[in-house]
Every structure is written in C-alpha cells, then in structure tokens.
Amino acid sequence: MPAFPVLVEVTLRAGVADPQGATIERALPALGFDGVEGVRVGKAIRFTVEASDREAARAAVDDLCHRFLANPVIEDTNVTIGNGDAP
C-alpha cells in the first residue's frame, strides 16, 4: 500500500481565547512589525499513513484527529494529505 504524507494542523476553535496568540500579537509592534493581526497559535503534526488510496487515508486521519489528535471541545483540525508513494 502507498504511504501518504500527512500534515495535521491543530488550532483553537474560533471563539476560544488564545492567550499565546494574543501575547505574540501585542509584542509585534514593539519589534517593528506593524499591521499583523489575527495571530493564532497551534500545533503542526506530521506523519505518514498507509492506505489503499487517498480517500481511505483521509478517512483514517479524520478518525485519528477526532479521537486523539484534537479535543473537539476547544480545537479544530486542518488536514493536508500529500501524494502517496508508488506502491
């Protein structure tokens, strides 16, 4: 089976306070970076998953995200699946 490279980005859901993001945003003008807004801090998790095809890979990763990688009460995920290796 081909192995698909996966990037899972975990971010706090809209509406959930992100004190890290807010702190970074407040610090930016002092460092000379103006006009930066909407800073949100999250996690990036990379791995590969073996699956028969891309759809199967996505289904497996969605399940993994829902049950483990993110807490749906406070977090959202964005999944990017790359091209699988030749089998």
Partner: protein
C-alpha cells in the same frame, strides 16, 4: 472503605491522596495505569501530576491507559470517581465529564491557595459540606481554565453540576468553575487539591470536608460486579 488511586507515568500526587485518606481511616491502594483491575476499591481517585508528560494535551494519552476502561465502567455503574487537577483533565478527555481545560488566562502556572465556594452538595465530594461554604484550597496548574460549549454550560447550571466555584477567578475559567460533577453526582472533577489542605500544618485543613464526604458517600457494593 478502600480508595483506589490511579498512578499514571507522571502522576505525582498519589501519595498525598493516600496519606490524606488514610488519615481519615480509609485504606488506600495505588493502581498502576496498566492494570485493568480496581482491586475492589470502593472509590477511585485520579490524582494530580503530569500523566504521560501531558504530551499532546493533558489527559489525552492517559485516557487510553488500560485502567481507564475499567474506571469508565465503574463510573457508569455509579461508582465514585474523583479527578483532582490532572485527574480532572483526564476525566474530561475520557468523556466522563463534559468540557475541557485549557491554558490559564495570562499564561502563568498558578501555585497558590485560593478560596472556593461550595455550589452543590449533590456530589460524592461535597455531600458533607454546606452550600455557600468557602474553602481555602491550593491550586497548582497551567491548564485549569475550564471551558465548554454554551449549551453545555447551561446544562451544568440547570442540573446543578457545578460543584465548586472560585471566589476570585484565578485562571479565566468559564463561570468561575473550579469543579463539576456528572448528572448523577458520582463523578467529580476539580482543579484545587483537597489532599494538600488536609492538615493545619499544611496551611489549611479545609480539604478534609471534601475527602470525608467521599469516604462517607462511596458506598461499598453500590457498584455491582465491575471491579
């Protein structure tokens, strides 16, 4: 009365809990997270610490420990389960209590004694307390900022599941929540540490009313054959 205290790799308050409940006349048994047996305990405590290093999220990996399956069955059959601090985080991750605990507002690790008010006595941890009673209890956490969906908050309020509130909110917790319970009151999670307020020598003995409640309400044999 036997209290089972779950020990995950990284737990660090298990001996404090054991000392406190033993001082009240109970026996305590430490339960390694890899076991599926609760050793015939009448109540289970998930103590504070950093289970599995708090990697990914506090409690996220601990909920998959073998013992948690049995703790879940025990809780669903009416057994008394109390999660303190990291234990509270584990209970929310395991779906035994609603909501989640996120980083403190202000991004500071908080280690100090705070005043909390008893809001409900319909839980295994507060049955011997009085509504409105104010307790001085230590907090010791980075992720103690309770949050939940607005619908969940209304349910908690309507069903009387908010057990403890901070008198002065130290961490940004929604509605000042310091502790909640399941609808039946047998599963309780709280961020403050009652076991660290179990003797005047420690600065406060206000945690004793909570631990005594647990010992009094965790009825042996109330739980069927799960254990």
């Amino acid at each position: 009365m036997k209290i089972g205290i779950v020990v995950f790799p990284g737990s660090n308050c298990e001996h404090d809990v054991a000392e406190a409940v033993t001082g009240l006349g109970a026996t305590a048994e430490l339960l390694w997270h890899g076991t599926r047996s609760l050793a015939a305990a009448d109540a289970v405590v998930l103590p504070g610490g950093f289970a599995h290093g708090d990697y990914l999220r506090p409690g996220a990996i601990a909920r998959f420990s073998p013992v948690m399956e049995t703790v879940g069955e025990f809780a669903r059959s009416g057994g008394a389960v109390v999660g303190i601090c990291n234990g509270f985080q584990v209970l929310t991750e395991a779906g035994l209590l609603p909501g989640a605990l996120q980083k403190n507002r202000g991004l500071k690790f908080l280690c100090r004694t705070v005043a909390v008010r008893v809001e409900s006595v319909a839980s295994v941890l507060t049955s011997g307390a009085q509504i409105g009673q104010v307790l001085d209890l230590p907090i010791n956490h980075f992720e103690g900022n309770y949050t939940c969906a607005s619908g969940t908050l209304e349910e908690l309020q309507d069903r009387g599941q908010i057990v403890l509130r901070y008198v002065e909110n130290p961490n940004g917790a929604t509605d000042g929540i310091a502790g909640i319970c399941s609808p039946e009151g047998n599963v309780v999670g709280l961020m403050p540490h009652p076991e660290r307020a179990s003797d005047e020598l420690l600065g406060s003995a206000d945690g004793l009313v909570l631990l005594r409640s647990l010992l009094a309400t965790a009825v042996p044999a109330a739980t069927g054959g799960v254990r």
